[in-house]
C-alpha cells in the first residue's frame, strides 16, 4: 500500500511540469516562426459536454476552440493563461501551494491584472483544460477545506514533512483535507468503509459517538458541496484502499446532488477526470426516511420542485434509487435536514438509523 501513491503523485507532477514546459516551448516556436501564438483546446461550452455512461461522469466532446494572441478579444485571457502556466510551473517545481485567492493576488506582482477572482479562477479552469489535469495537480487549491477523521495512518510527501506519519484519529476535530493530506501516502487502516457527511454538526456528533469505532469507518466531513480536493481524497480512499463510500446528506434535491457530484462529478468539471467515485452510495437521508422514521420536516419550496424537475431529466439520475426518491419527494412534497433525527434524542441517528441503513445500502446496486 505504501509508496504507490507517492510514486504516482511524483510521476504526475513530472508530467504536469513537462506539459507546462511543452506549452511554453510551442508558443515560443510559433512566435519565432512569425505567427501569433495560439493554442487549440477542448471546448467547454454546453454543447460539448456529454454524459459518458461508461465512465459515469460528464466528459467533453470533440469540439475544440482556438485561442490566438492575434485576436484582440483573446489577447488578454491568452496572456493570463500563459502567465498562469508560468506561475503554476513555479509552484509545482518548488512544491509550493497556492489558494485560488492567492493566485489572484500573486498576478499583481507580475503586472498581470485580473479584474476579480472569478476571472483568475476561470483562467485556472482553462489551464486545467489545456493540460488535462486538475488545479490541485499544479498546486492550486480552493479556500474551503473539509475534514477527515478515522483510523488511517498517512505519510506526508510534502517538503519538510516527507516521511512523517499521522494517524487521522489524532485530532478530535478531524484533520483538514488540504494539499498536504491530499498528496500523502496511505500507510495503513483498520477501517472497512467511508462515511461522508454533509454537515459539520453531525460529523462532530459521529466522532463523539465513536462511529468510527462502532462502524469501522473513516469519517469525511463534506462541508456542503464537496471541494475537489475532498472528492479526490474520497476517490483515493475508495480506489487505493478499496473502501466502500456512503454519503449522508439532507433529504432534499440539493443534498441529493451533493452526493451525486461525489459519485459522478459535475458538468463544470467535465474537462477533468479522476475526481469521481462512481461506486460511492447515497445512503440518506431519503424522502422515504421522512415517512418511515417520522422525521420533522418542511414543505418543499418552488425552487426545490424546480430543481427536482431538472434532476429528473439529468442522465446521472437514471439509476433506480434516484428515480424512486425523486418521485417520492414530488409525491410527498416534504424535505428534512440531517439534524432532524435529534427529535428522538442525540444518539438516535447513530443507534437506530445508521446500522439499519448501512445494512440496507450494502446490498443496493445502481
Amino acid at each position: 500500500m505504501k509508496g504507490g501513491s507517492a510514486m504516482k503523485s511524483r510521476e504526475k507532477r513530472k508530467d504536469v511540469l513537462l506539459k507546462l514546459e511543452k506549452f511554453g516551448r510551442e508558443l515560443c516556436e510559433q512566435i519565432e516562426k512569425g505567427s501569433f501564438p495560439h493554442i487549440t483546446m477542448p471546448s467547454r461550452s454546453i454543447e460539448n459536454i456529454f454524459y459518458n455512461p461508461d465512465l459515469r461522469q460528464y466528459v467533453l466532446g470533440n469540439k475544440t476552440v482556438r485561442r490566438s494572441a492575434g485576436n484582440i478579444r483573446h489577447l488578454r485571457p491568452f496572456t493570463h493563461l500563459v502567465w498562469m502556466a508560468y506561475f503554476t510551473h513555479e509552484l509545482t517545481t518548488n512544491q509550493k501551494t497556492s489558494t485560488l485567492r492567492d493566485v489572484f493576488y500573486s498576478a499583481q506582482a507580475y503586472d498581470i491584472s485580473f479584474q476579480d477572482q472569478d476571472e483568475s479562477d476561470s483562467i485556472i479552469t482553462d489551464l486545467e483544460t489545456v493540460l488535462g489535469y486538475t488545479r490541485e495537480d499544479f498546486n492550486v487549491f480552493p479556500e474551503e477545506s473539509s475534514a477527515v477523521f478515522g483510523d488511517l495512518t498517512i505519510e506526508y510527501t510534502v517538503p519538510n514533512y516527507e516521511g512523517k506519519r499521522l494517524n487521522l484519529t489524532s485530532h478530535p476535530d478531524g484533520v483538514m483535507i488540504g494539499p498536504a493530506l491530499t498528496s500523502a501516502d496511505f500507510v495503513e487502516t483498520s477501517a472497512d468503509k467511508v462515511i461522508a457527511i454533509e454537515k459539520g454538526g453531525l460529523f462532530t456528533r459521529f466522532i463523539e459517538e465513536r462511529v468510527h469505532e462502532k462502524f469501522n469507518a473513516i469519517l469525511v466531513f463534506l462541508r456542503g458541496q464537496a471541494p475537489r480536493s475532498t472528492r479526490y481524497f474520497i476517490r483515493r480512499l475508495n480506489q487505493e484502499l478499496g473502501l466502500p463510500v456512503y454519503i449522508f446528506t439532507d433529504a432534499d434535491p440539493w443534498g441529493m446532488h451533493i452526493a451525486m457530484v461525489i459519485i459522478s462529478g459535475s458538468a463544470n468539471a467535465a474537462h477533468v477526470k479522476e475526481l469521481t467515485t462512481p461506486d460511492a452510495k447515497w445512503a440518506g437521508v431519503w424522502a422515504s426516511d421522512i415517512v418511515n422514521y417520522k422525521l420533522p420536516n418542511d414543505k418543499l419550496e418552488d425552487v426545490d420542485i424546480k430543481r427536482l424537475h431538472e434532476l429528473m431529466r439529468d442522465p446521472r439520475y437514471k439509476g433506480e434509487i434516484w428515480q424512486r426518491e425523486i418521485n417520492l419527494f414530488m409525491k410527498n412534497q416534504r424535505k428534512c435536514e440531517l439534524e432532524a433525527f435529534s427529535r428522538y434524542g442525540l444518539t438516535h441517528i447513530v443507534d437506530a438509523y445508521l446500522p439499519q441503513r448501512l445494512k440496507e445500502v450494502g446490498d443496493y446496486g445502481e
Binding site: R25, C28, I31, G34, G70, V82
Partner: protein, 442 residues
C-alpha cells in the same frame, strides 16, 4: 474709441482704402440716398445709408459735427468738418482744410461723436469685430476701446476675392419704381432696344419673345408708356419664364480658401470644412451661399449649436433665432453626422447677393426663401458630411492606436512567460507588432 464724458464717445475710424474724391466727401457722408443705382453689384451697403445714419445719430444725440479726412493718394489731404441739414437732406460744410500729403497716404478717416454705453454693448462689438475678421481674412483690424485696450485681428492672407462686376438688373427682380427710373434715363427709342440695353441677359430673340408674350409692340417708345402699361410690363417681366437665370459675376463671394483662412485664423479649430454653393437666384436676384463647419480646437462647447451668420461679408450678430439659417441648423439631425450638442462645433453661413433677402428692415435676419434655404441646407449637409468623415477617421485612428497599444502591452508578456516556461531566450515580438501596424496602415 474714447469716452469723453459719461456716455459720450468719440469714434475714430481709419482705413487705407482708395479714399474719396474731395468733392464727393460732403455728399457721401451727409446726404441720404446719395447713391442712385441703375446698375447692380454686390456691395456691403445698398443705399449708402449706414455711414450717414451713424453721423446723423451722433449729431442728434451730441449736436457735434463729424470730421472726415480723406485722400486718394494725390498730393493733397482734405479735411472736412460737416453737419447734416436734416430738413433739406443736405450737407453743411463747417470747415474745409487742405494739407500736403507728403507720404502719398490714401484712405479715409472719420471722427464722429455718439452717445451710448460701451460697456453694455462691448460683447456684441467685440464679437462683431471678430466675426468681421473671419470673413475679411485679408484685412487687418485694430481696435482700441475706451478702456484703452488694444484688439488686433491680423490678416493672414494677402489675396483679395475677385472684384464683382456691375451688371444690369434681371427682369425678374424689377419693380415699378425701378422701371420708372430706368425709363427716365433711357435713350432707347423702341422697347426691343430698351429690353436688350437695360436688363440682364436679355438678347434680341428673348426680347422679341417676351414682348410678344407681354403683348407690347417691338417698336413702342418706352418713354410714351402709360402708367398702367408700365405696371403691366413689370408684371409680365415677372411671369415670363424664358429669361435666362442671372449670372453671378456681379457677386463677390469670399471663396472657399479665404473662408477657410478666416475660420482658421479667428476660431482656431482642429478641423474646418467649407463649401461654396453654385450660384442660384431668387426672384431674379442672384445669390451664392457659402457655408463652413468648424470643429474642436478653440471652438467652445455649448448646449446649443454655435452659428455664425454673414451677409455680404458683414456679420449678423442680432436676432439669431429668427434667421432661416437658425431654423435649418435646428432642423438637422446632427446625430446622423456623428455630432451631439455639447460637442465643440460651429456652423457658418454666408449669403452673397445683389439683394439680400432680409426678413425685416432691421437687416439682421435672412428670410426663408425656398431657393435660399435649399442652398443653405445642402451646403451645411455637405460640410457636415466632411466633418463626419473626419471624425470617423479620427475615431478609427484612435481605436487602432488603442488596439495596437493592447498588443504592445500583452505580446511581450506572452513571449516572456512562454520563454521562462521553456527555459529559453525570450522570442522577439517586434515583427508581429510591425505586421499589425502594417495591416492598419492598409
Amino acid at each position: 474709441m474714447n469716452e469723453k464724458s459719461e456716455n459720450l464717445y468719440v469714434i475714430r475710424i481709419e482705413d487705407n482704402g482708395s479714399g474719396i474724391p474731395a468733392d464727393f466727401v460732403p455728399l457721401a457722408f451727409c446726404q441720404f440716398l446719395f447713391s442712385s443705382k441703375y446698375k447692380l453689384k454686390q456691395s456691403r451697403g445698398t443705399f449708402g445709408l449706414g455711414g450717414t445714419m451713424t453721423i446723423l445719430y451722433g449729431q442728434i444725440t451730441t449736436n457735434k459735427p463729424v470730421k472726415v479726412i480723406s485722400s486718394t493718394g494725390t498730393s493733397k489731404i482734405y479735411e472736412y468738418t460737416l453737419m447734416i441739414d436734416i430738413e433739406r437732406n443736405r450737407p453743411v460744410i463747417l470747415d474745409r482744410r487742405v494739407r500736403e500729403n507728403e507720404n502719398k497716404w490714401h484712405g479715409t478717416i472719420v471722427e464722429v461723436y455718439v452717445e451710448g454705453d460701451y460697456y453694455k454693448a462691448m460683447p456684441k462689438i467685440l464679437e462683431y469685430l471678430r466675426q468681421t475678421a473671419i470673413v475679411n481674412p485679408y484685412a487687418s483690424i485694430t481696435f482700441v476701446d475706451p478702456r484703452g485696450r488694444l484688439y488686433k485681428f491680423e490678416r493672414t492672407v494677402s489675396v483679395l476675392p475677385p472684384q464683382p462686376k456691375e451688371t444690369l438688373p434681371h427682369p425678374h427682380g424689377i419693380d415699378v419704381e425701378t422701371m420708372y427710373r430706368i425709363i427716365r434715363v433711357t435713350s432707347c427709342k423702341t422697347l426691343l432696344d430698351f429690353m436688350q440695353k437695360h436688363f440682364h441677359r436679355v438678347g434680341k430673340s428673348i426680347a422679341k419673345n417676351f414682348l410678344r408674350f407681354a403683348g407690347f409692340p417691338e417698336d413702342a417708345d418706352p418713354k410714351k408708356l402709360k402708367p398702367e402699361e408700365i405696371v403691366n410690363l413689370v408684371q409680365a417681366m415677372k411671369s415670363f419664364e424664358e429669361f435666362l437665370p442671372p449670372d453671378a459675376g456681379c457677386l463677390s463671394p469670399l471663396g472657399e480658401n479665404l473662408l477657410k483662412a478666416g475660420v482658421l485664423k479667428e476660431l482656431e479649430p482642429e478641423f474646418v470644412a467649407v463649401s461654396q454653393r453654385k450660384p442660384s437666384a431668387y426672384s431674379g436676384h442672384p445669390f451664392i451661399i457659402e457655408v463652413g463647419i468648424a470643429y474642436g480646437g478653440k471652438i467652445p462647447t455649448s448646449e446649443d449649436i454655435l452659428l455664425y451668420r454673414f451677409a455680404n461679408k458683414i456679420p449678423l450678430v442680432y436676432d439669431e433665432s429668427g434667421d432661416v439659417s437658425w431654423k435649418i441648423v435646428k432642423s438637422i439631425n446632427w446625430r446622423n453626422y456623428g455630432l451631439t450638442s455639447g460637442m465643440p462645433f460651429a456652423v457658418l453661413v454666408h449669403i452673397c447677393s445683389t439683394k439680400i433677402p432680409w426678413k425685416t428692415v432691421g437687416k439682421e435676419m435672412i428670410a426663408d426663401r425656398p431657393e435660399v434655404s435649399r442652398e443653405i441646407l445642402n451646403g451645411i449637409r455637405e460640410v457636415a458630411r466632411q466633418l463626419d468623415i473626419y471624425l470617423s477617421k479620427k475615431e478609427k485612428a484612435k481605436r487602432e492606436k488603442a488596439r495596437l497599444s493592447i498588443f504592445a502591452k500583452y505580446l511581450p508578456k506572452i513571449a516572456e512567460f512562454s520563454a521562462k516556461l521553456a527555459s529559453r531566450d525570450t522570442p522577439n515580438v517586434d515583427e508581429l507588432l510591425r505586421r499589425l501596424r502594417r495591416l492598419e496602415g492598409g
